[in-house]
Amino acid sequence: MPAFLETRDLKKHYRMGESTVRALDGVSIAVDQGEFIGLLGPSGSGKSTLLNLIAGLDRATEGALRVLGDDLAQMSSDALSRHRQRNVGIIFQSFNLVSTMSAAENVALSMMFAGVPRPERDRRAQELLEAMCLGGRQRHRPPELSGGEQQRVAIARALANRPRLLLADEPTGNLDSRTSAEIMALLTQLNERDGRTIMMVTHDAGLAQRYAHRTVTLLDGTVVAESHP
């Protein structure tokens, strides 16, 4: 049985003028369904690059990357956008909500791209926001919401198309400690109760150790440490 997610000797090189930046330089990891992985490392270690490759936002230079049995290197650009629609949900440090749309519209947007009919979209957006304790804030726009509320809207959006993999890039990076704890509790709940696989990038080793099943530490594009549960 193929692994839920597997990378083999994954490389991502950028050309920066004369020199080549090796953002990822041969990463091989495997993730099982239902795991909560913490990706650790200082800035520039390549942890965000790895997350972007898994999300299908970027293409690897070399190596294999299989998610849910599909080889992302072989996918067309349209197939990658379907992968982003259905297989993964992404949560960003800076929330990345469309500021001119209401909370409900932001959540419905990802379902719009997936071709979900409007009545169902609206109903599901409402359900998700209520589940995130944002029932009364559906018509509010992101600038009218607090950081924690915005991140909960973003999580609702990430869940809209029922992906099996959640990718979180420093999800608490812009939040205070109390709100951070709320968001982390929410992610833990999604992992434990709903069985969603989560990969979370953070530079906060304490946070990763507290919530993740195991941690992978990157440095200069290679895996330098891997904790086992």
Partner: protein, 462 residues
Amino acid sequence: MTIGDTVQLALRNLNQTKLRTALTVLGVSIGIASLAGMVSLGIGLQDQFVGRFTKSGVFDAITVMSAQDRPGVLASGLGLGAGQRGGARARGSSAAVPTKPRPRLDDDALRRIGALQRVKEVYPNLRVPVALSHERFAESYIATGVPMSARNEGAFQTFAYGAFFNNESENACVLSLDVAKQINERDPRDLVGKQVTLTWVASAAIAAGAPSAADNPLQLQHAEARYTVVGIVEREPGPGGLPGATPSGLMIPLARAREISAVDAGSLQSLFREPAQGKSYGSLTVKVTRPQFTGDAENQIKEMGFMAFSLNDALTGAKRAFIVLDIVLGLIGSIALVVSSLGIVNTMVMSILERTREIGIMKAIGGSDGDIRRIFLVEASVIGCAGGAAGVALGWLVGRVINFGANLYVQSQGGPTGNLFSLPPWLVGVAIGFAFVVSLIAGSYPASRAARLDPIQALRHD
């Protein structure tokens, strides 16, 4: 992503930048208005020119004459002088003498020409010398036979007094204003409804066995009839197809002219022809169903061995000139449209710069390159269609204002009014369709630029 969702999202985006969208739409509408205005000016001018000339009954008419050599002035006294002038005016080809035996222009030829395709009507140009008397006035005129189809054509479009013949068989005549003034200097209007007496030569024969030719060789018998004056026209109409022919101040229904000339021609003309030939006409007028068919019909008639010419070629040349004029006007109008399409490009590029991050977000949550491209193309085409519709309305409005102004001027100069600008329904459709296509072309570069954006770069954008 469904089309409905794409349109909804695009409209929403446009709504967010109302002022900029409105200004861009205004730009497009000025471009379309100038294009539609210029083209409708071209169409209007053409309608004015061609319409007026087509109504004159000259351009759908062909004049047919026998190609046979005729004995100068003696040839029935009608049509020939005009025929020579007209023949000289026609191009070389029409004057070419056929090698076949020359057919005569008789009733049989009339039927054969009438049977040709696209020929609406054939009638002989009958001009009979008559004497007209009314009370103490008496003068000789050439009476022209006018077919009933000439109603509302040429000189019969407007009557100074009275109206056209009611039917073909009545003893009625129409006078030109000149002739009417000759009869009744002070009040020509008074003649309408009055009766005049026409007298003509009913038969003539060479007095057989006359001792000397100088001693009254012709025996003439006169006939006369009372004719009612039904109308008076301002100018003297030339016979159809022969604008250069001697105009006639006295017009009677064709059928009446035919009767008079039947008696007359059977005798007088036959004096100068071989007796076996019977009756023939000096010239015929052939009316075709549409002016553009004159060339065809003309050639067919020439193949039958007759001389034929029309003025349609002049009209064809004029129409060609109008096509060139339309293209030139269209190009001038297009300049504004090109400028406004650059406005669309500018607006869309600006919009993409502002919404780079939003595009990145949409891609990250599953929007495909195609989705993004379509959203921006729909935005551009909505601007284009709105601009097209507004532009047609604007062009129509400006055209109406200029029409109104021009007609005020023309009326003050005593000319006939008409529409300088004409906006036919097809032009409305073409203008909006054109705006749509132009906006799609203008939007295609920004849209594909948006579609190609790297989502990671776009998400870092502020």
